[in-house]
Symmetry: C2
Subunit: 353 residues, 2 copies
């Protein structure tokens, strides 16, 4: 098969981790007889520096024309202390999600047996955890009307959801649950919010179309607790944009393997794959960042965007092997053991595929 | 001194845990020569059953006339599966907060040396944790305009904050920080929300009035992570209503002592003290609920509402003694050891004061 992949390396360590994912993807393509064309494009702080906006039209066109987008990370410290700066890297992220129609963010949290002791949680709490959040990504309070009144003394943000928005996200949730343990948890705050009541009634009405799926409804505050207490009690969770932002980040640290967690954002026009970690500015250029989350995001891309399960499994298998053999960057290397460079890990993966 | 305390036992185990706090408070009053008048009033499901509304006017008048309110818990399973029922216990809670002007919810999370192994976190992560959240409690998306459009197909919730609302909450945060380690963290989502930008700029403008306080600004998703990773890196945190709902619950479970965590809600007219746990319906009437969170809430009341530090310390000291000697309810009793009844724990506290 032939693929055209948009390559958005972004800022900070983005280019370094993307580089390793490209190397391994090319090796996979060679091994399985595919042909990948990579089309690089600018986004984030580097796009602001180059052309003044964080998500240039040209980048958008490249993404729209691609079979999938592989994304690194964006953000630069020079924007960190002033969240009201007129142009910011994150705006590019939000614009990209909206314009590409990436309405569902797929965020798995799972554990690696060899890394379980890295978790802040006790072993018996975290062992066996394997959950997936589906976070709504193009609606809610992120994209509602916002502004000031009373000469700037009053600020407002509007949270809006339509039934159709909830349905298309929930549909993905039910479908995903069908491929897993058939358990779906709808996370809301229906005891307080009208949008949450719309979420809940919409999901309730869909239950009859998926009679095999057991649906539970939990308040967001209760989920924030149970994620720390019994993360392995969850399987597929669906939720709205802001709750998803908070809970997926909380979930990402419980595994102790945040540097390894991949994600996908799927939607109307294309799909995008990215590590969940940020641009880690302090490490830029040092060749020390962990490339595995990006490599595993590429695995998700092969499986979900291209339907190539064997290719995805080959990537996951070699990643597991590298972890077992301790071919890891400094964030995962136990004290007193050798830490490998970003590019060395990538080279090892290619050589051991 | 003479105090008039409104007693809102509420639903489920509320009356049982309140009962022990009253016993101990009366013993404290006797020992330190105070006189307490308790005025019981209805709220929650029991108020709906009795008079059709969850926060009756009579209850409100009793609270307004009181020097403080001691609150148990509300909620009943018959309302759990239908968050859009026309009358619900939680509405009473929200109405009470609003009508009593309880704009600041004070939620400490701390550890007890003898209970540290109950935490889902590893010992080295949780040890030394001693933080306090100040959650804004009468504004934001909880109280903004909400409703439906397009024949019910679109739902909306409006989040609104005024500068004055942020200032009065932040002022309490700065003042609290001054009495502790002088570290204040403002939790927001200023990279996305206009209300968060108002929060941030308002707190930034107040920094000059508290030159000794070191203020940090963190995004809510980052805090959701760090609370699990390094909870002992936080001291005082201030945040808006919905973020506070999620994060204070997350924080409450990391200590492993949720059944012991007290809280206060302070504001314009009076202040209210309550355990953070819920009404625990399954345990109702069994005399097994842990009364210590309510007892420690009474300690907060003595200290903060009445300015009686010795009385508060006396309560905390006897609670510590009970924990050390294993005079605890079944939630805290290690397997194979004796669990005491709710009322037995209360009796022991009174006898050992
Ligand atoms: C950078 C920010 C706007 C973004 C979000 O809140 O969606 C990030 O936290 C994420 O989760 O991808
Ligand atoms: C019951 C509910 C309305 C309430 C809230 O969200 O404020 C509760 O979760 C709390 O934190 O006191």
């Amino acid at each position: 098969m032939k693929f055209n992949i948009a390559l958005l390396a972004g800022d900070g360590i983005g280019p370094e981790v993307i580089n390793e994912a490209v190397k391994l993807s090319d090796a996979i393509a060679k091994k399985f007889n595919h042909e990948i064309t990579w089309t690089p494009a600018l986004t984030g702080a580097c796009a602001i520096d180059a052309v003044g906006v964080p998500y240039p039209d040209e980048t958008h066109e490249i993404c729209m024309a691609a079979d999938a987008v592989l994304f690194g990370a964006i953000g630069h410290p020079k924007y960190d202390n002033d969240p009201s700066a007129p142009v910011r890297p994150e705006q590019g992220l939000l614009l990209m999600r909206k314009k590409l129609g990436l309405f569902a963010n797929v965020r798995p949290t799972f554990t690696f047996p060899s890394l379980i002791d890295n978790s802040p949680l006790k072993r018996e709490r975290i062992e066996g955890t394997d959950l997936v959040f589906l976070r709504e990504l193009t609606g809610g309070i992120y994209f509602g009307e916002k502004g000031r009144r009373d000469g700037g003394e009053t600020a407002f943000d509007n949270c809006v959801y339509t039934r159709a928005e909830v349905q298309r996200l929930a549909k993905k949730g039910f479908e995903l649950a069908m491929t897993r343990s058939k358990k779906l948890c709808c996370v809301d705050k229906a005891n307080v919010l009208e949008t949450s009541r719309l979420w809940r009634e919409t999901v309730q009405a869909m239950e009859k179309d998926y009679p095999e799926v057991t649906v539970s409804y939990e308040f967001v505050d209760a989920v924030a607790m149970r994620l720390v207490q019994w993360p392995n009690s969850y399987d597929v969770l669906i939720t709205e944009n802001l709750f998803g932002d908070i809970l997926t980040d909380e979930a990402s640290v419980i595994s102790g393997s945040m540097g390894l967690m991949p994600s996908a954002s799927v939607g109307e026009h294309t799909s995008l794959y990215e590590p969940i970690h940020g641009s880690y500015p302090q490490a830029t250029g040092l060749n020390i960042a962990n490339p595995l989350a990006t490599v595993l995001s590429a695995a998700m891309m092969f499986e979900d965007a291209f339907g190539l399960k064997d290719e995805a499994e080959a990537i996951r298998a070699v990643v597991n092997k590298s972890l077992e053999q301790g071919i890891v960057t400094e964030d995962l290397a136990p004290k007193g053991t050798k830490a490998y460079k970003t590019s060395e890990v990538g080279d090892w993966l290619v050589a051991n595929l």
